[in-house]
């Protein structure tokens, strides 16, 4: 029997080292992956700061608003006015109220009337956006009923 096997030239490769490595890689990617940042928009170049540490307690309800410039591939601005990147659309700040109202209605329908007080608005604004526009956005959110605000920044390692 043994003789015949060798004659057929069939040898089983040793799988063990390969499986070891594949499992190592799998574990690495599983740990490194971060599903939470899916709402983070890469088009926004956040300001950097050493004090910006990820919060220990994550707010229960949050509304992420990304504000920045439309840029081409080289990074040059395509429009001089910054816009809010909202659901694949570009909305200027002064035209944003209807979207905020809709956001509020959806939240109220899901979580009840009082939810608006507990929602944290996370503002991810580009580092070059004029401050006045950020303030205008905050004001619009306040008029809609939002009251908690957070400004996002990338944490900078020293």
């Amino acid at each position: 029997m043994k003789m015949r096997k060798i004659e057929m030239g069939f040898t089983e490769p040793d799988m063990t080292p390969m499986i070891d490595i594949v499992f190592q890689l799998l574990t690495f990617f599983m740990i490194a992956i971060n599903f939470e940042n899916t709402k983070a928009d890469e088009r926004v170049k956040l300001p950097k700061d050493t004090l910006a540490k990820p919060p220990t307690v994550k707010p229960e309800h949050e509304l992420v608003l990304n504000m920045g410039y439309q840029r081409d591939t080289s990074g040059a601005r395509m429009k001089s006015v910054p816009e809010i990147f909202y659901n694949e659309r570009y909305v200027e700040v002064r035209q944003f109220t209807p979207d905020l109202e809709q956001e509020k209605r959806v939240m109220e329908r899901i979580h009840g009337k009082e939810i608006i007080k507990d929602v944290t608005v996370l503002i991810r604004a580009d580092s070059e956006v004029p401050t006045g526009l950020v303030q205008e956005l905050i004001k619009k959110c306040q008029e809609t009923g939002f009251s908690k605000f957070s400004l996002r920044a990338t944490s900078e390692e020293l």
């Binding site: 940042n37 300001p47 950097k48 004029p130 006045g132 306040q142």
Partner: protein
């Protein structure tokens, strides 16, 4: 008898590896494609209740700290002010602001740091990064040697927005 002996003895059992490897590779490819390397992000909370000026703040022993940011039309910083004091417009100005805040609050962790508010009054055009930097300098200090953060003032608010420069 010989047969039974052979099956109950310590023989090597072959586990079919192929299906497991298939699945593991699928998983590996899934996680590899989904991996996005992003630097961690942090928040600065700002205190902006509706009905803007808080009446309670008026009768505290510490007045509000007013930080002004002035800029040119392109949003570049031209001057930082603290109250009526001019601090300059470079990186050292932010450090001076940090020191001044510490002088005002006395020591970090002072109970007053929970009460006192910093009001940031920025020109319309001021680039947002300067505002974030100002907030950072008012809320604390990062010590590069010990990698510890010392917290200063906790409450930050914005002054009513200005009109853009015509």
């Amino acid at each position: 008898m010989k047969l039974r002996n052979r099956s109950s003895g310590p023989t090597k059992v072959e586990i079919p590896m192929a299906p497991m490897i298939d699945i593991v590779f699928q998983l590996l490819i899934f996680f590899m494609l989904n991996l996005k390397i992003v630097s961690p992000e942090g928040n600065f909370n700002i205190n902006m209740p509706i009905g803007a000026p808080s009446a309670a703040a008026a009768d505290q022993n510490l007045p509000d700290i007013k930080v002004g940011l002035h800029s040119d039309r392109d949003g570049r910083l031209t001057q930082i002010t603290l109250g009526s004091k001019n601090l300059g417009n470079d990186n050292a100005a932010f450090e001076r602001l940090n020191k001044e805040i510490l002088t005002i609050i006395g020591r970090p962790g002072n109970p007053l740091t929970k009460e006192v508010e910093v009001e940031i009054d920025a020109d319309y055009e001021t680039q947002y990064k300067y505002v974030v930097k100002t907030i950072s300098k008012c809320t604390g200090r990062f010590d590069p040697a010990t990698k510890q953060i010392t917290r200063y003032v906790e409450k930050i608010k914005f002054a009513p927005p200005h009109k853009p420069k015509a």
